[in-house]
C-alpha cells in the first residue's frame, strides 16, 4: 500500500509481477538519468532484498504518453494510409460512380438513380442473382456438413491417420486457374475421364459444364474438393476439445451413433459450425475464377455469377457506373446475409458458459 502511494500504481504492479515470475536472471544497465531507478532480478528468493523500487517523476510519464501516441500513429501508418487510399477513398468514389455513366474514355455523366433502376428491372440481373444464390445455397451446407463428417472420420486415432489427414488437406491448397483447367478437362463431355468412365459402365454422362441444367451443380461439385482443408481442420480441433466423458455417459445410456452425433457432437461444435458457415457464405459469393475460365458465363448465362457479371460490365463493356452500382448491391446483399446469420446464430449456437 505504501509503495502505491509513493510511486504510483503502475510501478508497484511491475515489481510485484517480477517477483512472481522469478524464472530467470535479468541484468540491466543503469537506467538513463530521467528514470531514477534500477530493477535487479535474481534467481532465488534469497536475493529479494536486492530489489529496489522504481521511481518515476511526473514529467517522464507524460512525455512517454506523447511519444506513445506518435509511435502508435507511426506504426499504424501503413494501415491508416492504406485504409484511406485503398479502401475508404474507393468506397466513396464507387458510391459516386454508381450514380453516373462512366466509360473511362470520357468523363462521368451524372444519371441519378438510373443505374439502380435498370439493374432492378433487368431480367439478366435477377438471373445472375439466382445463379449466385443457387451456388451459395448448395455449396455452403454441403461444404460445412461434408467437412464436419470428414472431421468426425478423421478424429480417430488409428494408425496412419495423419497420412489421411494430409491427403484430405492437399486439394484445398491448390486453386486458381490451374484447378479450373483441371476441371475443364476432367468434366469434358467427349474425352474427359468422368464421361469415359461412365461410358465404360454403359451409361451416358451428362454434358456437365456445357449442359444448361448441369452447369451450376458441376460448379458446386468443383467447390467441394476443398472441404478437407481449413474448415475440416477447424472442426477437428473443435472435436478434440469435446470431453470424452460426455460420450462415455451417452454410451452408458445406450445411445446409438446417430444420437451421439446429433445431441453431443453437433451442439458442442456449433460455434465452429457457425464460423464455417459465415466464412463459406462470404467465400461462395466471391466465385469468379472457375466461372471465368471454364464457362465464361455458361450455357444461357447459367453460370454467370455476380462477381463475373460485375467484371464483364466493368472491363468488357466499360460500363464503370453500372458495374459500381452492381458492386454496391452486392455489398448490401453480403451485409444483409451476414446480419441474418448473426441474428440466427443466437438461436441455435450453443456456447459453453
Amino acid at each position: 500500500m505504501q509503495r502505491e502511494k509513493k510511486f504510483g500504481s503502475r510501478a508497484s504492479k511491475i515489481t510485484d509481477e517480477f517477483l512472481i515470475l522469478n524464472e530467470g536472471a535479468f541484468l540491466y544497465r543503469r537506467a538513463p538519468n530521467n528514470l531514477r531507478g534500477i530493477i535487479l532480478m535474481s534467481n532465488n528468493n534469497n536475493n529479494k532484498s536486492k530489489l529496489k523500487k522504481l521511481k518515476f517523476n511526473g514529467k517522464v510519464r507524460s512525455k512517454k504518453l506523447i511519444n506513445e501516441n506518435i509511435a502508435g500513429y507511426l506504426f499504424a501508418a501503413p494501415w491508416l494510409i492504406g485504409f484511406t487510399v485503398f479502401i475508404l477513398g474507393p468506397i466513396i468514389a464507387s458510391f459516386y460512380f454508381s450514380f453516373t455513366k462512366y466509360d473511362v474514355l470520357s468523363s462521368p455523366v451524372w444519371k441519378g438513380l438510373e443505374n439502380y433502376n435498370t439493374i432492378l428491372l433487368d431480367e439478366l440481373f435477377w438471373k445472375v442473382l439466382g445463379n449466385t444464390l443457387f451456388y451459395t445455397a448448395f455449396s455452403v451446407p454441403l461444404a460445412v456438413f461434408g467437412s464436419l463428417l470428414l472431421a468426425v472420420l478423421l478424429n480417430n486415432k488409428i494408425k496412419g491417420i495423419n497420412i489421411f489427414r494430409t491427403i484430405f488437406y492437399l486439394p484445398s491448397v491448390t486453386g486458381g486457374v490451374a484447378m479450373a483447367l483441371l476441371w475443364l478437362w476432367f468434366f469434358d463431355p467427349g474425352a474427359g475421364i468422368i464421361n469415359m468412365g461412365l461410358r465404360m459402365l454403359g451409361k451416358q454422362g451428362p454434358l456437365w459444364f456445357q449442359s444448361e441444367i448441369w452447369a451450376k451443380p458441376t460448379m458446386v461439385i468443383c467447390s467441394l474438393i476443398a472441404i478437407g482443408g481449413d474448415r475440416c481442420l477447424l472442426f477437428l480441433a473443435a472435436l478434440q476439445g469435446i470431453p470424452q466423458s460426455l460420450y462415455e455417459a451417452a454410451d452408458i445410456d445406450g445411445a446409438s451413433w446417430w444420437t451421439k452425433f446429433r445431441y453431443i457432437t453437433v451442439p458442442m461444435v456449433s460455434p465452429i459450425i457457425f464460423l464455417n458457415i459465415m466464412i463459406s457464405i462470404i467465400k461462395s459469393f466471391r466465385v469468379f475464377t472457375n466461372a471465368y475460365v471454364i464457362t465464361g458465363g455458361g450455357p444461357l448465362n447459367g453460370t454467370l455469377f455476380l462477381v463475373l457479371y460485375i467484371y464483364k460490365n466493368a472491363f468488357t463493356f466499360l460500363k464503370m457506373g453500372y458495374a459500381s452500382a452492381l458492386a454496391w448491391i452486392f455489398f448490401i446483399i453480403v451485409f444483409v446475409f451476414s446480419l441474418i446469420q448473426l441474428w440466427l446464430s443466437k438461436k441455435w449456437v450453443y456456447y459453453e458458459t
Partner: protein
C-alpha cells in the same frame, strides 16, 4: 465380442477413408498423369492412369515457345514482394493495436474489423481508375504496393490474428526493455518480431497461397504478355489455337507444384494458422 467389434469398426473406417481419399486425390493424380502423356493417349478412347511412354517433349515447348518461364518469373517476383510487404506492414500495425495506446485506437480497430466484410469488387473499379490516372496500369505496382500498406481484406484479418498473438506475449518484456532504454521501434524489432516468427510464418504461407493463385487483379492490370503472372498466363494458353490438353495439364502442374511443395514443407504453419483463426472465433 468387443474386440471383434473394434476390429470391424476399424476396417470399416479404413475402407471408408480410403475410398473417400481416392475420390479426393484423383483429380490431382489425373493432372500428373495427363501432363506426361502423348497426344494419342490423352484423347484416346481408353482411360490410362500411367502414361506409357512418359513424354517430356511438350514441357520443353511450354517453357520456350509458350513463355511459361516468363510467367513463372513474374509470379515469383510479384508473390515474393507481396508477401514481404504483407508481413512487414501487418506486423507493424498489429503492434500498434496491441501494445501502444494512441488516440482513437479502439475506434480504428472497430473500423478494421468492419473492413473485413467489404467485398473486393466495391473497391476494384475506383482503384483501377486511380491506378489508371497515376499511370500504373500494365506494371506490377498495383499488385505489390497495396500489400505494403496492409491492403485488402486479408490485411485486416492478418492484423487481427497478429494482434491476438502479440497480446499473448507478456507485457513485462516490453516494460523491461523500456527501462533498459529501448524505444518503441527497438521493442518492435528485438522483442516482438522474433517472438512473432511462428505467426509470421503462418501469415507468410497464407499470403503466398493467396498471391500465387490470384487471378482477377493481374487480369485487370497487366496487358503485355511479357508481364503476365502464372494464372493469367495459363488462361492465355488455353485460348491459343493449338493448345492440347496434355500441354495444358503440364502447365497446370507447374503452377500447382509450388503450392504443394510449400504445403508439405510448412505443414505446421497451416495447422498453427487454424489454431489462430479458431482462437479468434
Amino acid at each position: 465380442m468387443k474386440r471383434k467389434n473394434i476390429i470391424t469398426k476399424k476396417t470399416i473406417l479404413y475402407i471408408c477413408l480410403t475410398i473417400i481419399g481416392i475420390i479426393f486425390i484423383s483429380p490431382l493424380l489425373w493432372v500428373v498423369s495427363t501432363a506426361f502423356k502423348t497426344v494419342e493417349q490423352t484423347y484416346g478412347s481408353e482411360i490410362t492412369w500411367i502414361p506409357n511412354p512418359i513424354t517430356f517433349k511438350h514441357f520443353i515447348k511450354l517453357f520456350t515457345e509458350y513463355h511459361l518461364s516468363i510467367f513463372i518469373k513474374n509470379s515469383i517476383f510479384v508473390t515474393f514482394f507481396s508477401v514481404i510487404g504483407t508481413v512487414i506492414s501487418c506486423s507493424m500495425v498489429a503492434y500498434a493495436f496491441a501494445r501502444l495506446n494512441w488516440f482513437g485506437k479502439n475506434t480504428f480497430f472497430i473500423v478494421l474489423l468492419a473492413t473485413m466484410m467489404i467485398p473486393q469488387q466495391v473497391t476494384m473499379i475506383p482503384l483501377f481508375i486511380l491506378f489508371n490516372k497515376i499511370g500504373w496500369i500494365n506494371t506490377f505496382k498495383p499488385l505489390i504496393v497495396p500489400q505494403f500498406f496492409a491492403g485488402g481484406v486479408e490485411g485486416a484479418l492478418y492484423i487481427f490474428i497478429l494482434r491476438q498473438f502479440i497480446r499473448s506475449i507478456p507485457r513485462e518484456l516490453d516494460e523491461a526493455a523500456k527501462i533498459d532504454g529501448c524505444g518503441y521501434f527497438k521493442i518492435y524489432t528485438h522483442i516482438i518480431m522474433p517472438l512473432l516468427k511462428p505467426a509470421l510464418g503462418t501469415i507468410a504461407v497464407f499470403s503466398f497461397m493467396l498471391h500465387w493463385n490470384d487471378f482477377m487483379t493481374p487480369l485487370i492490370y497487366l496487358n503485355d504478355e511479357s508481364k503476365f503472372t502464372l494464372p493469367v498466363g495459363l488462361q492465355y494458353f488455353r485460348l491459343q489455337d493449338f493448345i492440347l490438353y496434355n500441354e495444358l495439364m503440364g502447365a497446370s502442374l507447374v503452377a500447382l507444384l509450388p503450392c504443394i511443395i510449400i504445403f508439405f514443407m510448412c505443414q505446421k504453419y497451416f495447422i498453427r494458422g487454424i489454431d489462430l483463426k479458431a482462437g479468434k472465433g
